[in-house]
């Protein structure tokens, strides 16, 4: 292939670079001039405030590498911004790891200081310590002062993010977890300073013990909790990372008559890409020559390699097995199937499930409410509590602030949704939103469109029977000549069969179609009618003889197509759409889930019943015209059912939209099906059962999390306020509260991560 390959290419591309090192506005013109000098660059706009450079260029003349180099040549640092998904993932991981390491360092300092702090607070547990440092002695006061000095760096460094976070939130007149922890440890610290510096102000000087241990232990535990939570939260988006990791990095493209290896971002639509055995296919396209088997399991979930020859579609990120071929790039960058899948999953993970509304209503009021409760508890204990009142009041105040965990509440739903939706993607099930995931759980009826859903959707001509005055081949020729004007799949089967037998098709005039019923036209001056018995009868043809023939085919699950020629019954063509091998199993799985399964088809009652018996559905709506599919869905809804409609996404779009959940069966690179709440990338019906499984598992997980988080706070806060004290004499230690708070959010995230272990029952991987 020579360089003429590039004529007619989409030869415009855009890249945004982040530029570092600009000190003044004049740098802008220096960089712009430098980049504009590069051949192929059409426009450059450098933004000084945002430190970015937007470059429009012709990718057949300049590569992104050239452009980055051109900026560097002018003396500034430049790098591509977030274009390479791989980099973004690496960056995110590095950022998370850095945060984790910092938190662990802070934890270690707080933990080390906590050890002597705790020992000195409970000297009775260490033999000899009470004699060495007698209670109430000057020695004890000195040791306490020393421990106080050690506590300061813990507060100032290990606990710094709490104060920074509190201050930033206060400026926005809002409060969060940082506010509660800062107030709690500050109160404990301030009390301790007073107790050590001015022990005389307490009625009984002996009771004035500092809370250095509370300050450092709470900080240590909460910081440890944050570190673990950050690690665990990283794992929740594992599915996205896996998807991004599938992307190829480079492509072998024909440029200027030779094969060049270029970064994947530089591939443009129309490029001819070489694929060798073992190569990852870089972008979506159509094979132009060569053939091979391609492993598409990572995108479609299809376990067996798929044969590819000229004219076949290939999907980016799939793996070439044995042969070599060349294909023309059709979708690149953000338009590829993989990019669409990633975007859909990311958007879905960011969406909200209705169940979260209750949390949203609470969370805006939660932290200030806890602050108010802590103050009221302090006042109550100070006014009505036992002596030493100040100590009790302080302990209760600190414990109440520390135990409250807004994070557990906030994390409960989104983390489970993120894992659940990611799990779906791993199994070839794209769930559009949290709303869809939650509704899927309530489904009571699954309506399956027959064609392409239960069956392969590619009917073939199986039998022909001609009436006495006609011949089978004549029937086929006339049928195909007329059906070539129809887009009906049954018609296409007739046309394919005629072409396979090398029949010459004639032109037809005055073609009239009655959707779902039949088609008629003039072929070589003869009026030909093709369609249902009802259609032929309406057109004045006596179809009784044809119906007798049809009655043989229908029980076999074949669709009879009646042919009338010149007003006389001519014969019957039988077309059958074969059932997908795993449909029966998948429907059995839906039954196991307690769902009613309904089949919807335009077929005759008998044909429909034959297939229904074969696969085991509970109810059949036969002879449903395409425009009435949505009505059938509405009919079921009127009976009180929550309906999932499974169809192909194009013809069934209105029914999909009418259903509570529209599930589209996608194929190849066509994944972004607008009307669908759920898209099954792999053609199997098992995906429907797996989607239901995932929905139920995820919602169960969300409920566990919400119950845990609400229950934790609802029990923890009153206990911290001392509600058990008057009856049982139990008062919670602030350190226990710190541990509980730290691990409540870790527990929520870990519980969500359990969903990662979800395995579809069978047949779906």
């Amino acid at each position: 292939m020579d360089h003429t390959t590039h004529t007619g290419l989409d030869s415009h591309a855009h890249i945004q670079l982040s530029v570092q090192g600009m000190s003044c506005a004049s740098c802008v013109s220096t960089i712009e001039a430098g980049v504009r000098a590069l051949p192929g660059v059409e426009d450059v706009a450098v933004n000084f405030a945002h430190k970015t450079a937007d470059v429009d260029y012709d990718p057949t003349q300049a590569t992104t590498r050239d452009i980055v180099q051109a900026v560097r040549d002018t003396g500034y640092r430049a790098e591509k911004r977030d274009e390479n998904a791989d980099d973004a993932v690496a960056k995110e991981e590095a950022e998370r790891e850095r945060e984790y390491q910092t938190l662990m360092k802070k934890f270690r300092l707080a933990a080390i200081v906590s050890v002597p702090n705790v020992i000195l607070m409970y000297p009775d547990f260490v033999p000899g310590l009470t004699t060495l440092i007698p209670h109430g002695s000057g020695m004890e006061q000195l040791v306490w002062a020393f421990m106080g000095a050690l506590t300061v760096p813990v507060l100032a460094w290990s606990g710094s993010q709490f104060f920074v976070g509190m201050w930033a939130a206060l400026k926005h007149r809002s409060a969060n977890m940082h506010t509660l922890i800062s107030l709690g440890v500050s109160a404990a610290f301030a009390y301790s300073v007073v107790a050590v510096a001015f022990p005389g102000i307490f009625p009984e000087g002996a009771a004035a013990e500092p809370f250095w241990d509370v300050t450092t232990v709470v900080i240590a535990l909460v910081v440890l909790g944050l570190a673990l939570e950050s690690k665990a939260r990283g794992r929740t988006s594992e599915a996205i990372r896996k998807l991004i990791g599938l992307q190829a990095k480079t492509a072998h493209v024909m440029r200027d008559g030779k094969v060049q290896e270029i970064p994947i971002e530089d591939v443009v639509v129309g490029d001819v890409v070489m694929v060798r055995p073992g190569d990852k296919i870089p972008v979506d396209g159509v094979v132009v020559d060569g053939s091979s088997n391609v492993d598409e399991s990572m995108i479609t979930g299809e376990a067996l390699p798929v044969e590819k020859k000229t004219g076949d579609e290939v999907i980016g990120a799939t793996m070439n097995k044995s042969g070599s071929f060349r294909f023309e790039a059709a979708k690149v960058g953000k338009d590829t199937a993989l990019a669409n899948i990633i975007k859909m999953v990311q958007d879905a993970q960011g969406s909200k499930a209705p169940i979260q509304r209750i949390v949203d209503q609470v969370s805006g009021y939660f932290v200030p409410t806890v602050m108010i409760l802590a103050i009221l508890a302090f006042v109550a204990w100070y006014d009505f509590g036992p002596e030493p009142r100040l100590i009790y009041a302080t302990v209760v105040f600190v414990t109440t602030l520390v135990i409250a965990c807004p994070c557990a509440l906030g994390l409960a739903t989104p983390t489970s949704l993120t894992v659940g939706i990611g799990k779906g993607a791993e199994n070839g099930i794209l769930i559009r939103s949290g709303d869809a995931l939650q509704t899927a759980e309530r489904i009571s009826v699954v309506v399956l469109d027959k064609t392409g859903t239960i069956t392969r959707g590619e009917p073939t001509l199986t039998d022909m029977t001609a009436m006495p005055d006609f011949e089978e081949q004549q029937l086929l020729a006339l049928g195909a000549s007329l059906e070539q004007y129809s887009e009906h799949p049954l018609g296409e089967a007739v046309v394919r069969a005629a072409k396979a037998q090398d029949q010459d098709l004639s032109e037809a005039q005055d073609v009239q179609t009655k959707a779902g019923h039949g088609i008629s036209g003039l072929i070589n001056g003869v009026r030909v009618h093709i369609g249902t018995a009802k259609y032929l009868s309406e057109e004045g043809i006596d179809a009784r003889g044809l119906e007798d023939i049809a009655s043989i085919y229908s029980p076999q699950g074949k669709t009879p197509i009646m042919v009338g020629v010149d007003g006389a019954p001519a014969g019957v063509l039988a077309v059958a759409d074969t059932v997908k091998p795993d449909s029966k199993d998948a429907i059995a799985r839906l039954h196991e889930l307690g769902l009613k399964v309904v089949m919807l088809t335009g077929d005759q009652r008998q044909t429909a019943d034959a297939i229904a018996r074969e696969v085991g559905v509970d109810q059949v709506f036969a002879q449903v015209l395409p425009e009435h599919k949505a009505d059938k869905v509405a009919e079921l809804q009127a009976q009180g059912h929550v309906v999932a409609m499974v169809g192909d996404g194009i013809n069934d779009a209105p029914a999909l939209a009418a259903a509570d959940i529209g599930i589209a069966i996608g194929s190849g690179t066509d994944v972004a099906i607008e009307a669908a709440d759920v898209t099954l990338i792999k053609g199997s019906l098992h995906g429907v059962a797996t989607a239901m499984d995932i929905s139920r598992a995820t919602m169960r997980n969300v409920r566990q999390n919400l119950l845990g988080a609400f229950g934790y706070n609802a029990l923890g806060i009153p206990v911290a306020m001392g509600i058990l004290y008057p009856v049982f004499g139990i008062l919670m230690s602030p350190m226990i509260a710190g541990a509980a708070m730290a691990f409540s959010s870790v527990t929520v995230v870990s519980n969500a991560n359990r969903l990662r272990l979800f395995k579809p029952k069978r047949g779906a991987s």
Binding site: K91, G165, Y365, P368, I375, Y382, D383, G410
Partner: protein, 129 residues
């Protein structure tokens, strides 16, 4: 009741309305989106909250919100627009543009993943030309 108890009670009960007023009775003034042509653009800094946190835009015109996260705490590393079914990762110190097309008027919240940081997108009806 001793004088110190009276003092603690007065101060404590006095703090309650102060908290209610400070955190709940705030009135967001809002920042109007700027923009040439049809695009409405606002730069938002993410640091303990969203600054500005109330963005006023016109209905039916594309909106671009440029988020710049200036903190290392991972709490704020994702911004979500549930009503628009959109979310974005916000790497530290990097401007990330979130594009929206508000079709309906009303108030739409954007939050961090946990819903601790909150902002509002106020969509106003397009003014008569």
């Amino acid at each position: 009741m001793t004088w110190d108890q009276v003092l603690v009670t007065i101060v404590g009960l006095g703090l309650v309305p102060l908290i209610v007023w400070y955190f709940w009775l705030k009135k967001g003034t809002g920042t109007h989106a700027q923009g040439s042509g049809s695009l409405q653009e606002v730069n938002i800094v993410v640091k303990g909250g969203y600054t500005p946190d109330t963005i006023i835009v016109q209905q039916g015109r594309p909106v671009r919100l440029n988020f710049l996260r200036q903190e290392s705490a991972t709490c704020s590393d994702t911004v979500k627009f549930p009503d628009f079914n959109k979310s974005a990762r916000l790497p530290e110190n990097e401007t990330v543009a979130v594009d929206l097309l508000p079709q309906e008027t009303g108030e739409f919240e954007f939050t961090c993943q946990m819903g601790m940081l909150r902002g509002r997108l106020v969509v106003e009806g397009s003014k008569a030309a």
